[in-house]
């Protein structure tokens, strides 16, 4: 009975899309509510929540006041925290690309005594979660006099064993002949690394850079401990201070959340292909 099975298939498909549609709604709604709340006066935020209607999601007196106030706060406007986060995340990403790619290359290609032992030692540090490291690392940077400095936010996060591991895997798959040709042409190891290995590893490097940038942008526990002062505060710590200290300014809190979310979400949507690859790479190979 072909018609019946077609009917059945249509029913199955409809159920599938209904389920997916409902779930997607549950995943998107908090973002819509966040955005809508950031664009209305404080008094309106909870006003149209009960009962739910289109008014819950469309500001009734649309205003950018919370964003204007956010970027005019004293002693530091919110742009200060945005700058701190961008500066720290870009520094971590750039330095960590260079340092870990160099180390990964040494492990992938160069012969030296103790290579596998050293590699194992590097990797074993991955087992220790940051939450365990937080206290001793704080004491360490305190003894360096680095509390409330950019160094404290950047330098401990440059060397990254997971990055060394992933990039090494990738470098090993580049045909050796390419490098040997370059070496015969008179390239040094550094030259071969720059002119052969790097250009052939762009997808892996982009994926790693995205993972590092996001990790730095989202980091909370460490900046909360290491740089709580208003001057060096990063965006996540600033939002947390709205929640735990200011408490009642939900309009500012929502606007700040939108500012913290947009750049990363936009970058993700543009670079999704690399990002997903990075996740799968760190997921299944790591």
């Amino acid at each position: 009975m072909p018609t019946r099975s077609r009917l059945q298939r249509t029913a199955t498909k409809s159920t599938l899309y209904l389920m997916l549609g409902g779930l997607t709604l549950a995943w998107v709604t908090p973002y819509v509510w966040m955005l809508a709340s950031s664009l209305r006066p404080q008094a309106e935020i909870f006003q149209y929540v009960t009962p739910l209607s289109w008014k819950t999601f469309v500001p009734q007196s649309f205003t950018l006041a919370s964003y204007r106030e956010l970027f005019a706060l004293v002693p530091f406007p919110f742009s200060r925290y945005v700058f701190n986060s961008i500066f720290v995340a870009l520094s971590v990403t750039t330095l960590s690309l260079i340092v870990n790619a160099l180390a990964a290359y040494a492990f992938a290609r160069l012969e030296f005594p103790g290579r596998s032992v050293l590699f194992a030692v590097f990797l074993s540090t991955m087992i220790v979660p940051f939450e365990v490291l937080a206290i001793p690392l704080y004491l360490q940077i305190r003894s360096f006099g680095w509390v409330n400095t950019y160094q404290a936010l950047i330098i401990p996060w440059i060397a990254n064993p997971l990055g060394i591991f992933l990039l090494r895997q990738f470098f090993q798959e580049i045909p050796r002949e390419l490098e040997e040709a370059a070496r015969i042409d008179g390239c040094s190891y550094v030259g071969a690394f720059r002119h052969v290995v790097i250009p052939n590893s762009i997808p892996a490097l982009v994926a790693f850079a995205l993972i590092r940038f996001q990790a730095s942008w989202d980091a909370f526990l460490w900046p909360l401990i290491a740089a709580p002062s208003a001057e060096k505060r990063v965006i996540q710590v600033a939002i947390a201070s709205f929640v735990t200290e200011v408490q009642t300014r939900w309009d500012l809190t929502f606007a700040a959340s939108v500012v913290a979310t947009l750049p990363v979400a936009a970058a993700f949507l543009v670079l999704q292909r690399y990002y997903v690859q990075g996740v799968v790479m760190s997921g299944l190979k790591g």
Binding site: L16, Y17, L20, T24, W27, V28, T29, P30, W33, M34, S37, V49, T50, L52, T56, V99, A103, L110, F112, L118, V121, F122, V128, P129, F130, E131, V132, L133, A134, I135, P136, Y138, L139, Q140, I155, P156, I158, A159, Y189, D218, F220, L221, I225, Q236, I239, A240, V243, T244, T253, F254, T261, A265, F268, L269, Q272, V276, V279, V280, G283, L284
Partner: protein, 282 residues
């Protein structure tokens, strides 16, 4: 030596900011070391014994286990279900995948903040409940609902990540296996339990173990949404360690508790390696 030049920056970083601090922490976990007083006195195992007898530590350990157990069950099931849904040759796959994945790339601080307001007594979820004619719930203000509320939020945030791992696992299963099974007359349910599930084992182990380890380290939502309350009902290990170290400045005791956390995580990691080594090959 060339290799030394390539390795030096990473090696210095890992020594200085990973290996040395861990060694140092192990040392101070055997000391009575407070940032408020200049002297450190060696006290042997006293900090560890104190944790053993500390009622708040026990509550924190129990809550962490409860949170982890609940989260991992719900999250793994949900991620697998989503991956199977999206595997059904869905039009607009990229859109659905992105929708579930956006919370993964949203910071936990933002997610916790927005959900705190959604759980508010006049927040979005109570609005939804009363629109549906249901009675409002206290959510984070209740000792019985606060921890499950954190679980729900965490599933919402992370399920997209684990779904992607399952999707990658599903895509790695060759279509020919299903085709030859269909020729042999297996039902869809049989091919799901006999082919899909066993071959997803590796992905599932990853999802369970990584999920468990990351659940064990929950901190940010507790810090922002509940401060460990109400009545210690969301007091978890990392938050208790943080509070001991950075509100009471008892670094020795906090370090000892960190090592207990590390021991738990190590056991879980070893279990992961053990399970990953025995994979099914078809």
């Amino acid at each position: 030596m060339t290799a030394a030049g390539f390795l030096l920056p990473a090696a210095v970083g890992i020594c200085l900011f990973s290996i040395l601090p861990i060694a140092q922490a192990l040392r101070i976990s055997f000391f009575d070391y407070s940032l408020l007083s200049p002297q450190q006195t060696a006290t042997g195992l006293e900090n560890y014994e104190r944790a053993w007898a500390d009622p708040v530590f026990q509550i924190a350990l129990r809550n962490t286990l409860l949170y982890t157990g609940l989260l991992v069950c719900v999250q793994t099931g949900a991620a697998l279900a989503l991956a199977l849904l999206l595997k059904q040759r869905v039009a607009g796959l990229a859109f659905f995948r992105s929708a579930f994945f956006v919370p993964v790339v949203t910071s936990l601080v933002v997610v916790s903040t927005v959900w705190k307001l959604m759980y508010n007594s006049q927040g979005f979820l109570n609005g939804l409940l009363s629109t549906l004619g249901l009675s409002p719930q206290p959510f984070l203000a209740s000792t019985t609902q606060a921890l499950p509320s954190l679980v729900v939020m965490s599933v919402w945030k992370d399920v997209g990540f684990y779904m992607l791992i399952f999707l990658a696992g599903l895509q790695a299963i060759s279509v020919e296996l299903y085709e030859s099974a269909a020729i042999d007359g297996t039902t869809r349910w049989q091919s799901f339990t006999r082919i899909t599930l066993p071959l997803l084992r590796r992905a599932a182990v990853f999802v369970v173990v990584v999920g468990t380890i990351s659940a064990f380290k929950i901190f940010t939502p507790v810090y922002l949404m509940t401060d460990g309350g109400p009545a210690d009902s969301t007091m978890v290990l990392v938050f208790y360690i943080f509070r001991t170290a950075f509100r009471y400045f008892e670094m020795g005791y906090a370090s000892a508790m960190s090592f207990i956390l590390l021991a738990i995580v190590l056991v879980l990691t070893l279990v992961q390696f053990r399970l990953l080594r025995t994979t099914v090959e078809y």
